[in-house]
């Protein structure tokens, strides 16, 4: 069973990474920004797992699992922040979070 080699996967992950980055850079809703960050982390995971298969080394998969946990933690904190912002009746728009500047 010979499928696409690892460069395909990595290229795909690069595309995903770029899409995620674009999301972070373009979107103003913090929730979508968080979702985009998830895409970025997942793209890295894809690369890791792809390389793990390519190298025949489980370490990559382990790394990916750990990244998942980290991503989940970030989501928790990020969502907590969004909830807190919402509680303070602050518009969920990162462009309006600009009291600190200059």
């Amino acid at each position: 069973m010979k499928g696409p080699d690892v460069s395909w996967y990595v290229t795909l992950s690069a595309f995903l990474f770029a899409v995620g980055a674009l999301g972070v850079l373009l979107r103003r809703n913090p929730l979508i920004v968080l979702l985009s960050l998830e895409i970025m982390l997942n793209s890295a995971n894809l690369a890791l797992i792809g390389f793990a298969r390519h190298l025949g080394d489980t370490a990559g998969q382990v790394f990916a699992l750990a990244v998942m946990a980290v991503a989940a933690s970030e989501v928790v904190v990020g969502l907590g922040l969004i909830v807190a912002l919402n509680r303070n009746r602050i518009a969920l728009d990162v462009d309006r979070l600009n009291t600190l500047r200059g």
């Binding site: 972070v24 373009l26 103003r28 990162v94």
Partner: protein, 630 residues
């Protein structure tokens, strides 16, 4: 002898310090006595030194005494040393002698001025400085004395601190002299570079090894610059008439008898140096001749009694320069001495007049004083005759032998001789113009109104006896030397300065006759116009104007130096200091601030911008890494 010389030098300094530090603990009159006494001590010490020196054989009459090393650097050393030799002793005698009389006169003249202490401290300091100048054994010490007399001159010209003209005159005098000091210093630098020493003995013995006419001329020119400035010779003469703002005894002491003749002293003292640069020597003589003529002409139109005398001083020093430049050292020094006598006398006499007329100095407001102040008139007359070179008064002997020497000194000398003769005519004319206007005729209304006759008070007596003493000296002072017949003074100075010209008896006689004749002619014309009033004063508009503007020297210097200087200073302030120096730092800070504002504007507060910066940073870094390596 050395001890006496040191006492002579330091005694006035001690008095000056004592008066300064004593402050109000000394009464005003005590200050005067202290100063007078200290100068008297100097004079006595000078006499002692003189007689001790006479005990030595003529060729051994040179003694150097060094107190301590004054300055040193590497191999170069300057000792705080004095030289006692015939020339310095002669000058010590003149300075302390005339100085003593004038300081004593001041006790009377300055009585009632509320800052007498300052005056006497300055006077004593001046005598010290002048003695330092003449006694120094090293060119640096000479220059120090040179500078210090200039300083004292400044202080005393500006004695009337509230008078702006006095202060301006004082500054002018100091700055023109500073210029002379600077050129002297440059000459000294050449000497240091070439010879490594500035001690007289060392300099004179090695002077022929300076190497190069150029260097030698530079040295001589530099020194001459100092002499010209100090002695108010053309072209650095304009300060002297203004210096008459000082109290009259100051004019007598500093601006007639002693300080202004320091240039002559230097020409004589440093004759071995100048003789290596004959061109410069000729220049000195030429400058002297020009000055004597120009000053004599200007004196014709002056209306201030002191300024008339001041121009005559310039003119007389011109004679001395002429003599010294033509290597007739003995006669130069002789004229220096007699001039000190009669010029001091004239000034002090004028001082009495001014004093009597409550500080009025304009001769046209005077008149008829001869009857009111007969003794003063007599004294002034003696001075004036001596100045005009009428025998048997002092001026006759010294001036004529000096001119006679010029006749001997080749074609150039003869030219100068002619100029000098013309000068004697002018001398007679302007001197007696003054005498006749001031003393002759009927008392003017002004005089009637303002004259206050000095009684037989203490101050008046101090003034009287000193003037008397000077009058006597002006009469007999010339008798110590007569042409080729009798010249102990020239002989005495011979070990220091060998005169290069010896006029013959015939030359002496011709010169004397012509000089006296011209002098008398001048006096006669003066009498004709100003006393007998047979003729009106001739008017030549152009000449009048030129003379009244003193040949436009002041205007010239104003246009050439002062105005451009001020302009440059303004320009420096306006175009360099402001925009460039202060502006550059302001521009720099403002520029940085501007950049800073831009940088902080990028800090939009939007996290998307921040992520963008991070992302593009990473992208660029990656791109660069890939590009560099692959």
């Amino acid at each position: 002898m050395i001890t006496a010389a040191w006492i002579c030098l330091l005694s006035p300094l001690a008095a000056s310090l004592a008066i300064t530090l004593g402050g109000t603990r000394l009464s005003r009159r005590q200050a005067g006595y202290a100063a007078t006494f200290s100068v008297l001590v100097s004079f006595v010490a000078a006499l002692v030194a003189f007689f001790q020196l006479l005990n030595d054989a003529p060729e051994e009459r040179s003694h150097v005494s060094t107190l301590w090393t004054w300055l040193s650097a590497g191999e170069f050393e300057v000792g705080l040393s004095i030289l006692v030799d015939p020339l310095s002793v002669f000058m010590m005698l003149v300075v302390s002698g005339v100085g003593f009389l004038i300081v004593a006169y001041s006790i009377g003249y300055m009585d009632g001025s509320d800052e007498e202490r300052r005056y006497f401290a300055y006077m004593a300091l001046f005598v010290f400085s002048m003695l330092l100048l003449v006694q120094s054994g090293d060119l640096v010490i000479l220059l120090s004395g040179w500078g210090l007399v200039g300083l004292c001159s400044y202080l005393l010209i500006g004695y009337n601190q509230e008078r702006p003209q006095a202060i301006a005159a004082a500054k002018k005098a100091f700055i023109m002299n500073a210029f002379g000091d600077a050129t002297m210093a440059l000459a000294l630098f050449v000497l240091i570079q070439r010879l490594g020493t500035l001690e007289y003995g060392g300099v004179f013995s090695q002077i022929d090894s300076v190497g190069g006419d150029w260097a030698m001329s530079l040295i001589a020119l530099g020194l001459l610059g100092g002499a010209v400035a100090k002695s108010a010779q053309i072209p650095l003469h304009t300060w002297l008439p203004d210096a008459m703002e000082g109290p009259t005894p100051v004019s007598a002491l500093i601006h007639a008898a002693t300080m202004v003749t320091a240039g002559v002293y230097m020409l004589v003292r440093l004759n071995p140096v100048f003789e290596q640069a004959p061109g410069v020597q000729d220049l000195a003589a030429g400058l002297g001749a020009t000055t004597l003529l120009v000053a004599g002409l200007i004196a014709l139109v002056q209306t201030d009694i002191k300024r008339v005398i001041a121009y005559s001083t310039m003119s007389q020093i011109g004679y001395m320069f002429l003599g010294a430049g033509l290597a007739s050292y003995g006669n130069s020094m002789f004229h220096l001495m007699t001039h000190a006598f009669f010029k001091a006398l004239l000034f002090l006499g004028a001082g009495i007049v001014i004093h009597a007329l409550v500080s009025e100095q304009d001769i046209h407001r005077m008149g008829g004083l001869g009857r009111l102040l007969p003794k003063t008139y007599a004294a002034m007359l003696i001075g004036a005759l001596a100045l005009a070179g009428i025998p048997p008064l002092a001026g006759f002997f010294s001036k004529d032998s000096l001119l006679a020497a010029a006749l001997e000194a080749g074609p150039y000398g003869q030219l100068l001789w002619a100029v000098g003769l013309a000068g004697t005519f002018l001398t007679g004319l302007y001197t007696f113009r003054m005498i006749f206007i001031v003393f002759g005729g009927e008392p003017s209304p002004f005089v009637r109104e303002h004259l206050h006759r000095p009684g037989h008070t203490m101050p008046a007596l101090w003034m009287a006896w000193t003037v008397g003493a000077l009058a006597v000296l002006s009469v007999v002072g010339g008798w110590i030397q007569f042409a080729g017949l009798w010249h102990p003074l020239s002989d005495f100075i011979e070990p220091v300065a060998v005169s290069g010209v010896e006029p013959s008896g015939l030359q002496d006689a011709v010169t004397s006759v012509l000089a006296v004749g011209l002098g008398l002619t001048g006096i006669g014309i003066a009498w004709w116009i100003y006393s007998a009033r047979r003729a009106v004063v001739p008017r030549f508009a152009l000449a009048q104007q030129v003379l009244e503007h003193k040949f436009y020297f002041d205007e010239l210097y104003d246009a050439v130096f002062y105005r451009p200087g001020v302009w440059v200073a303004h320009a420096a302030m306006r175009f360099v200091e402001g925009p460039l120096i202060a502006g550059s730092i302001r521009g720099l800070t403002e520029g940085t601030r501007l950049v800073a504002t831009r940088v902080t504007e990028a800090q939009t507060g939007l996290l998307r911008t921040y992520a963008l910066a991070l992302g593009s940073g990473a992208a660029i870094l990656t791109l660069v890494f890939l590009a560099v390596r692959a």
